[in-house]
């Protein structure tokens, strides 16, 4: 009798487990049936994460390799599934970060990006696909995440993080990952995290280098403790100017995901009050000890002057994007449009075209009749280059006898450096070189490619 009862109870338990597993499966199927996520234009609160107390058989199967780690285990997995992470920027850092967090079973991912997928993103922004060009990055990333792990709640936000929406958004998440690409956004994310008491895992990458820190965490510094004043705008280089090797933000985004993972699972970050720097050229990591939270910090100090979000673009003197700035150094008569230059070429008017881009860019593409002297060499008054320029100008002068001042046109990629070069050449005119008339070609080679010659490469 007792034996039979025990057997029945055992059976009953088994059936209960099976029903629970089935219920979970039904819930999952229902979730994946919902239409593709639409980007949030207004910030609506996502549904709250239901706290799991145990793992389903499918969870165990899917995450078994990380469940085996004593550092992580079932408890870590359950903690991770209860954690929400806001990813600011779905680019070179945000893609690998979101990918690994989703694969590992994070509870919810918020994916913010105002931008759209472009061909020149694909070498490093590895969640986006060729067919997603022109699509919102937040959406493209969300659909890649969904097909990787449908159990992760995914909230795409196709918007620019701003002082108006940042607090609302950040308050809905446990951890924030700064994967952005510009200075104003970095200050904005920092202040919003300090004001909402959220840990901020922050990575950055450029050229062949990366940096990683955690801010506002366990008495450590915030971004403003380290950088109370923003850098002068002309000292800031973005990826479209300076270049970046795709694997570098890839490595930094993975390390960033690792620290998020450790905080979410309950182990805590190893980068407390530390900055990790990666030099890809030397294949070298360096970790340095940082100052603690600064008592005089404007936002996290004892008497903060920043108690609500401010205008970060005016604080930094630059726009909250990584698009290139447009300089305006010259008067209208010192400039010429690409169309006007094309007309001049068609009439075969003698002139000198000076390309002031660095050699690495000239190797990518150039106009065949141009003379290349990089701006840096003009600035340094490099004697070989001055000599070459003098010869070319005097040759031109002989060619067009009768015109006292031969025309020199300066071109670069976008029309910023060419303006600086015009100023330098005007100082040289009549002194180091014959007297010349010098103009910059507005918008540079990219305007040439856009307006005059669509077959000219764009980079």
């Amino acid at each position: 009798m007792a034996q039979a009862l025990a057997t029945l109870r055992e059976k009953f338990k088994e059936q209960e487990k099976e029903i629970a597993a089935l219920r979970e499966k039904v819930a999952q199927l229902e979730m994946s049936k919902t239409p593709a996520p639409r980007p949030d234009v207004k910030v609506t609160p996502p549904t709250s994460l239901t706290a799991k107390s145990s793992l389903s058989n499918e969870d165990i199967m899917r995450y078994s390799r990380q469940l085996l780690l004593p550092e992580f285990g079932v408890k870590g997995q359950i903690n991770l599934s209860k954690t929400s992470v806001l990813v600011v920027g779905c680019g070179g850092l945000g893609c690998p970060l979101a990918q690994y967090l989703a694969a590992a079973g994070v509870g919810r991912l918020g994916l913010i990006d105002y931008d759209e997928v472009e061909l020149n993103n694909l070498h490093r922004q590895v969640l986006h696909r060729e067919e997603n060009q022109g699509q919102a990055k937040a959406l493209s990333a969300a659909s890649a995440i969904k097909s990787l792990n449908s159990t992760v709640q995914c909230c795409p936000y196709q918007l620019q993080l701003s002082p108006e929406n940042a607090l609302d958004l950040i308050q809905q998440y446990d951890i924030v990952a700064d994967c952005s690409d510009n200075v104003p956004t970095r200050y904005l994310v920092n202040d919003a995290c300090v004001l909402s008491g959220k840990p901020l895992v922050s990575a950055s990458a450029l050229r062949m280098e990366g940096q990683l820190t955690i801010y506002n965490y366990k008495g450590g510094p915030c971004y403003r403790c380290l950088y109370p004043a923003p850098p002068p705008p002309d000292t800031v280089t973005n990826c479209s100017d300076g270049g970046v090797l795709g694997v570098v933000p890839g490595i930094m985004g993975c390390l960033q995901a690792l620290e998020v993972f450790k905080i979410a699972s309950g182990q805590g970050s190893s980068l407390h009050q530390q900055l990790m720097m990666f030099d890809a050229q030397d294949a070298r990591f360096r970790s340095i000890k940082l100052r603690p939270r600064q008592s005089d910090c404007a936002v996290c100090g004892q008497n903060p002057s920043v108690t609500k979000l401010v205008d970060y673009e005016s604080f930094c003197g630059s726009a909250a994007t990584d698009k290139c700035r447009k300089l305006n150094l010259l008067s209208r008569d010192q400039r010429i449009t690409v169309q006007a230059y094309k007309l001049m070429l068609d009439k075969a008017e003698p002139h000198l075209l000076l390309d002031v881009r660095p050699l690495v860019e000239v190797d990518i593409c150039s106009l065949p009749f141009s003379l290349n002297i990089p701006l840096s060499q003009l600035e340094a008054k490099n004697s070989d280059d001055i000599h070459l320029l003098r010869e070319r100008i005097s040759h031109l002068k002989h060619q067009i006898a009768g015109i006292s001042q031969p025309p020199v046109f300066v071109i670069c990629k976008l029309g910023n450096d060419s303006q600086k070069a015009v100023n330098i050449l005007e100082q040289m005119s009549g002194l180091q070189v014959d007297s010349i008339i010098v103009k910059d070609i507005c918008g540079g080679l990219m305007a040439w490619a856009n307006i005059v010659d669509p077959s000219f490469p764009q980079y």
């Binding site: 952005s180 990575a203 950055s204 450029l206 850098p231 970046v244 720097m277 100052r291 990584d322």
Partner: protein, 101 residues
């Protein structure tokens, strides 16, 4: 009279572009009456290593905003900042903050 100092200087995060794109510099500071501090080192760098556009590296008597100084792998804020007295064999690193992603 303090003896000459041998220092290892490094520039990174783009700051090396102001120094002929060379990241590592082994330098020797001449002997002088008192000890060398970071404030004096910055003047020495400006006069001896930095050829172009000093405003992209130095502002007033300190580094421009956005450059982090590390002394022997620690934030200079922990070491006394401009007043840190340099020791023979010290490594001083100047890192420009990166913002790209």
């Amino acid at each position: 009279m303090a003896a000459p100092l041998s220092l290892h200087l490094e520039f990174g995060g783009g700051a090396e572009l102001l120094f002929n794109s060379e990241k590592k510099h082994q330098v020797s500071l001449p002997g002088q009456a008192g000890p060398w501090d970071i404030r004096q080192l910055l003047v020495w760098i400006q006069q001896n290593l930095l050829k172009e556009r000093p405003e992209l590296f130095i502002q007033g008597d300190t580094v421009r905003p956005g450059i982090l100084v590390l002394i022997n792998d620690a934030d200079w804020e922990l070491m006394g900042q401009l007043d840190y007295q340099l020791q023979d064999g010290d490594t001083v690193v100047f890192i420009s903050t990166l913002h790209g992603g």
